[in-house]
């Protein structure tokens, strides 16, 4: 009898979990299903679930839109360059914190916590004035510099924890073998910390890729506007072209979907960034 009860509660647990998975994935599925419908079926009442005649027209429409093309280019250039520069600057700093400046680490932790308290909108005011002053408003360079302000604290935080996992004995052995401190870092530590480095890079890239409010405030035209700003600009009070909109949103979200399974483990640490270390 008890085993029967155990069985049935286990089955119930699975049923609930599958239902939850369905609810989580259904909105995205609906987005992609809608994006391959033709103009008539898109607005048919009642709506069809599975498209009767799947078409790539909406995607063609998106790709032929010059504002989306420039937005895509801007998003790629800004996210890639700020991520790369962020890693290059943060990596040595994180290593120094984990190895040579251990006493400074709590201070950095506090710094990260404090900056997280400030919403982007607080930073956006001085950034707006500063970029204007340096003629960097509405430029990819200006936006990439601004993105460093939230990418670097995160990357330093993440890499510090990954570097701490590299056994100190390995570094001591390198020292005995006569390697310089820089050689120890580049030849011994970095290869071992490579998985962590990858997680931090992807995570940092996605933050920049998803960023919206800075881009909205600090860019004005096709020369610097990123995808989210371009796409949100398609919203008007009177009408939204949902075919084009769903296709663009579906394309924009792809990197996040591809990377999520890759960086699951580091993700927990990345998201906890700013949490009080207990």
């Amino acid at each position: 009898m008890t085993s029967f009860r155990k069985m049935s509660t286990a089955v119930a647990a699975y049923v609930v979990l599958f239902a939850v998975v369905f609810v989580v994935l259904a909105p995205l599925a609906w987005l992609y299903l809608s994006s391959v419908k033709n103009g008539v079926e898109m607005y048919s009442v009642p709506p069809t679930i599975v498209p009767r005649q799947p078409t790539a027209d909406n995607y063609r429409l998106v790709f032929s839109d010059p504002s989306f093309r420039s937005g895509f280019l801007n998003s790629v250039i800004v996210s890639f360059s700020s991520t790369l520069v962020g890693i290059l600057l943060s990596c040595p700093a994180a290593y120094a914190l984990s190895r040579y400046l251990k006493r400074g680490a709590p201070f950095i932790l506090f710094f990260v916590l404090i900056t997280r308290m400030f919403p982007p909108v607080t930073f956006s005011l001085p950034f707006f004035l500063l970029l204007q002053h340096f003629h960097l408003i509405n430029t990819r360079l200006g936006l990439a510099v601004v993105y460093l302000s939230f990418q670097m604290p995160l990357v330093i935080w993440l890499l510090d924890s990954f570097f701490r996992e590299v056994p100190i004995e390995i570094e001591d052995a390198g020292r005995v073998d006569g390697l310089s401190r820089t050689q120890i870092l580049t030849r011994l530590v970095l290869p071992l910390a490579l998985p962590g480095l990858a997680v931090a890079t992807i995570f940092s890239f996605l933050l920049a890729w998803n960023e919206f409010i800075y881009a909205l405030i600090l860019t004005r035209s096709n020369s610097a506007q990123t995808i989210p700003v371009v796409v949100s600009g398609w919203i008007s009070i009177f009408q939204i072209l949902w075919g084009k909109m769903t296709a663009a949103a579906g394309l924009y979200v792809l990197p996040a979907l591809v990377f999520i399974s890759l960086v699951q483990k580091g993700m927990l640490r990345g998201l906890m960034h700013g949490a009080v270390k207990q």
Binding site: N210, S232, M272
Partner: protein
């Protein structure tokens, strides 16, 4: 023995120097700049007026602005609702995944956290499409059970509900992930001895599991509070603050004041009030959990 420590320390400082300089320029300096801004009079629409010290005038004018108080109310309602619901959902799902003998937990978890890195504006757009009144799939599903769906974006309550739903979709996976990790790290003995003592399911949860889970719960609440208070993207694409101003929140208020009215000093004052409220609530939470 030679003394390598002094050398090592300066080597460490050398490695950290570039990042420190950059962070001072793009994080510390802008913050101080913003703070100064909130104490002067600067409106880009009136460039002729000379810059002068304004004391707390900006803060007073924000605090007495009915639109600010409205945004404050909406933000508080939003934060309380979303934080409660996502916490309960996240904890419930974490319990299910953490049951003994569950198979496929890794796969289920991966599927459940898919929305985690999805851009909030995509969530906003997708739910705007789902809730759209004529062609929306949601009202269609309601009609199957003979319910008439509302025109979601026409009234304040349903519009706010849509915002909460869109936010739950992106935020709940975070609660789930942290709480599940917390549950998986719990020691076995206290729970087992509670079972031996004959404590029921609820008593075990309330007196044993939740107190042990305190660090994870505090981390979830602190991070989610800071994130929920600043909500902007979803509101911007989902309701645009409407209908009327009925779904304006903190960030969208500051955005409007700063970049539509170009009253940057009032915007700065508003944003520091917002930070202060977040910081005080966080401190209260930390105190309560100690």
């Amino acid at each position: 023995m030679k003394l390598p420590t002094v050398n090592d320390r300066s080597y460490g400082l050398l490695l950290a120097a570039p990042a420190t300089v950059v962070l001072s320029l793009i994080v510390v300096f802008p913050l101080l700049y913003s703070l100064c801004l909130s104490f002067v009079r600067l409106n880009l629409l009136e460039p002729k007026i000379p810059l002068r010290f304004a004391g707390f005038a900006n803060y007073l004018s924000v605090l007495t602005d009915p639109r600010f108080l409205q945004a404050l109310l909406h933000t508080i309602l939003f934060v309380l609702t979303t934080m409660t619901v996502e916490f309960v959902l996240g904890l419930g799902i974490a319990f299910l995944l953490n049951r003994r003998g569950m198979r496929g937990v890794g796969t289920l978890r991966t599927l459940l956290i898919v929305p985690l890195m999805v851009a909030p504006i995509v969530s906003g757009l997708q739910w705007r499409w789902i809730f759209s009144d004529q062609y929306g799939i949601f009202n269609r599903l309601l009609s199957f059970v003979h319910l008439r769906g509302p025109v979601w974006f026409a009234s304040p309550v349903t519009a706010m509900t849509a915002i909460v739903v869109a936010n739950l979709w992106v935020a709940t996976p975070f609660d789930l992930l942290v709480l599940l990790a917390g549950l998986q790290g719990l020691p076995e003995e206290p729970i087992e001895s509670a079972i031996v003592d004959g404590a029921g399911w609820f008593k075990r949860l309330w007196y044993v599991v939740l107190p042990l889970l305190r660090p994870a719960i505090l981390a979830v609440l602190l991070i989610r509070l800071a994130d929920a208070v600043r909500i902007f993207d979803i509101v911007y694409v989902l309701t645009g603050g409407g209908p009327g101003d009925s779904t304006q929140v903190f960030s969208s208020y500051i955005f409007t004041v700063s970049f539509n009215n170009l009253d940057l000093s009032r915007g700065a004052a508003g944003s520091f009030i917002m930070v202060l409220i977040t910081a005080v609530s966080s401190l209260i939470m930390v105190r309560r959990f100690r």
